[in-house]
Symmetry: C2
Subunit: 400 residues, 2 copies
């Protein structure tokens, strides 16, 4: 036996220069993007002997560090996406930041994309999503496209200040979302942008009583499975923690579940669809955003549900039977977000593991303040008890 | 971005030719061997941002296919083991088949080995284990070293035929274990071997009422955690399925747990120690074999206990706090063993996944009759219900 390090069996095994998938795997999935969603999908793929190849921006991407087979490339470069999709049974996505024309091209070339470009477009373009969901009668905040400060003020005349002004694409974790209090702020935000490539989404500012997310898995052949509603808690537009069961009236949860299931059908979602929703001060349910991939709110399913969202996503996109979504018990998940203290969770594990029953998931990402570095889930007799454990561990890990 | 496939970030990152570990990981563990135990330990290592480097016999080894950082090399070659151990915080083991002199050398060089060579020797040499455990008063079947057919017959005169004659080392899954009915068979087995390098272990043949395994995790600083007793069911020396809780008298289970905890202390085990035990026809508990690593009987802990044996092994060998071992509910695990039908479980997943609530774990190994290719775990209201589900899925996967 030689001692050379890091020989790669996949390279030796390949019959084509571009092939990174094993023929003997149970299935071959190409995922565009290699962040923590890809990382945790890779963990699930190992169970099922699925080869999950990931298109990575960098060799330090979270899923690459976890050992997923990978190619270096950009989601903005069609050739990179095509090379990744070669020999894959299905193409799927770690994020939405892929040009629509590339997706259309891939589909035209005969690749199986789950979700489809048409469905994914609703996660890529918030204005488009609003229009489609509104046309089909789903409950939404009032909204309007705006492209000038004057249009924001006109919207405010009808629906009142403040107005939420969003960039239709590219935003996540609160980025690209602005709460505009008056015409001067609208002018400051929109003034510099020529109207042509700057259609913004203006939305009624909703007084939130609660936020929740419903995860639905749907297969190409139309089988669905829905998870228990997850209640999410945001600060500065970033989800800080979440719990199941959601502590909201059962009528609200039933309605939320029905809405999410209907959306999955209407848009032909495949894989995991996450529907983020608001409950306003009067108890009214409003759809916020869609994600067509495993979702931060679904990390809790790893320990708290019978089938994790990552296994379920693979099963759904491969058109395999879906697993049960039953809750094992009350649970809470706290996101580990880099604090200004500079505390790196990777170097602070032992203290946190001393708290009984906490499940720490680190993403292997270099520390940066404000960055999602991992999450902690705990189960408990109540969501509150679980949250107490998870928050204690998260506090030790981030030094907050 | 370039499109070259399979660049390895670890190679680019390395400051030494031999280094495959990231400095930014929460810990660096070298595992000798890259089979399914290493594969599942790698899955757990991802959660904890631990780099688990594996020494692999082949690029097709189970853990290599799951993406663990790896080196090609033999456990019989000291230089290969040394290269693997370089820059690791701890060295641990996927199997016992490593020459004792290599382990002693590694320890002398200052590497941290968990388990220690002295403890691991008890899994490597069944005769040594019998002597050590017997000297400390643990309940064992009657045994004696034998090196000639005559000595087998002498043993039989005291303890009766048949006699179980075992190769002291290298055997697993029933290999190297012989049930000898009479002197002629003893002569056939031992006759060809000169006495010098052929000391065999003769054991009283025990009428088995049940078999069980107790898993104990122990840290170098002496903290321990014990799992609920697992009841195991063998055929032809290979474990076919297992369940928790064990359906045996609570006094027997308490005694088994106490025995396993005492053995862990007495031998200074670190990491997971699995103690395999018999219950004989009169209800007496007897220690069979020891394994100092994650164990087949512990695969059930992935879904059925609060902390999986793979997470626990990492926590134990790194001297981190241990996790709770609480049972989530009754469960059963069925091993997927290649059948003469030639059915490859990797190609038969969808049918099996249609059975609700089964958790399939495939090892990525090429099909061979008699080979352990994976396992299936199910939870149920009773172990019997769980077993029914897991067996149904296993039957579909192996075509049995």
């Amino acid at each position: 036996m030689g001692g050379g390090s890091q020989q790669d069996r996949r390279k030796a095994d390949a019959t084509m220069g571009e092939m990174i998938f094993r023929r003997s795997a149970s299935a071959r999935v190409a995922m565009i993007g290699a962040g923590q969603l890809a990382r945790m999908t890779h963990q699930a793929a190992i169970d099922l002997d699925v080869d999950l190849g990931v298109l990575a921006d960098s060799p330090d991407d979270s899923a690459v560090l976890a050992g997923a087979p990978w190619r270096l490339g950009s989601p903005n470069t069609l050739a990179d996406i095509e090379a990744m999709a070669a020999n894959a049974d299905v193409v799927t996505f770690d994020h939405e930041l892929i040009p629509g024309e590339h997706l259309a091209k891939l589909e035209a070339l005969g690749h199986r994309l789950n979700p489809s470009p048409a469905a994914l477009a609703l996660a890529q373009d918030k204005l488009k999503a609003r229009r489609v969901l509104s046309a089909r009668g789903f409950p939404l905040p009032e909204f309007s496209p705006v492209s000038s400060p004057g249009e924001v003020s006109e919207f405010a005349e009808v629906h009142g200040w403040p107005v939420v002004v969003k960039s239709p694409s590219g935003g996540y974790d609160g980025r690209g979302v602005h709460v505009i209090e008056n015409h001067a702020q609208a002018a400051a935000l929109l003034g510099g942008h020529p109207a042509a490539d700057a259609t913004w989404l203006a939305e009624q500012h909703v007084e939130l009583a609660a936020e929740l997310a419903i995860l639905v898995a749907r297969t190409p052949s139309g089988k669905t499975a829905v998870y228990p509603a997850v209640q999410t808690f945001q600060r500065d537009g970033i989800c800080r923690y979440l719990q199941i069961p959601a502590e909201l009236p059962s009528a609200t949860l039933d309605e939320a579940t029905n809405v999410a299931m209907s959306i999955a059908e209407e848009i032909g979602a495949t894989g995991i669809l996450a529907v983020e929703m608001f409950v306003d001060a009067s108890g009214r349910l409003l759809v916020n955003e869609l994600a067509l991939r495993p979702h931060n709110s679904g990390h809790i399913t790893i320990e708290a549900c019978e089938t994790s969202q990552f296994h379920q996503h693979l099963r759904a996109i491969l058109d395999w039977p879906l697993g049960p979504t039953t809750m094992r018990g009350p649970a809470a998940t706290v996101n580990l977000i880099g604090e200004s203290t500079g505390a790196d969770p990777s170097q602070r594990l032992p203290e946190a593991l001393a708290i009984p029953g906490v499940h720490v998931h680190l993403y292997g990402k270099a520390f940066r303040a404000g960055r999602k570095l991992g999450h902690v889930t705990a189960l408990g007799r109540t969501p509150g008890e679980a949250l107490g454990l998870a928050q204690a561990a998260a506090g030790l890990l981030t030094g907050s």
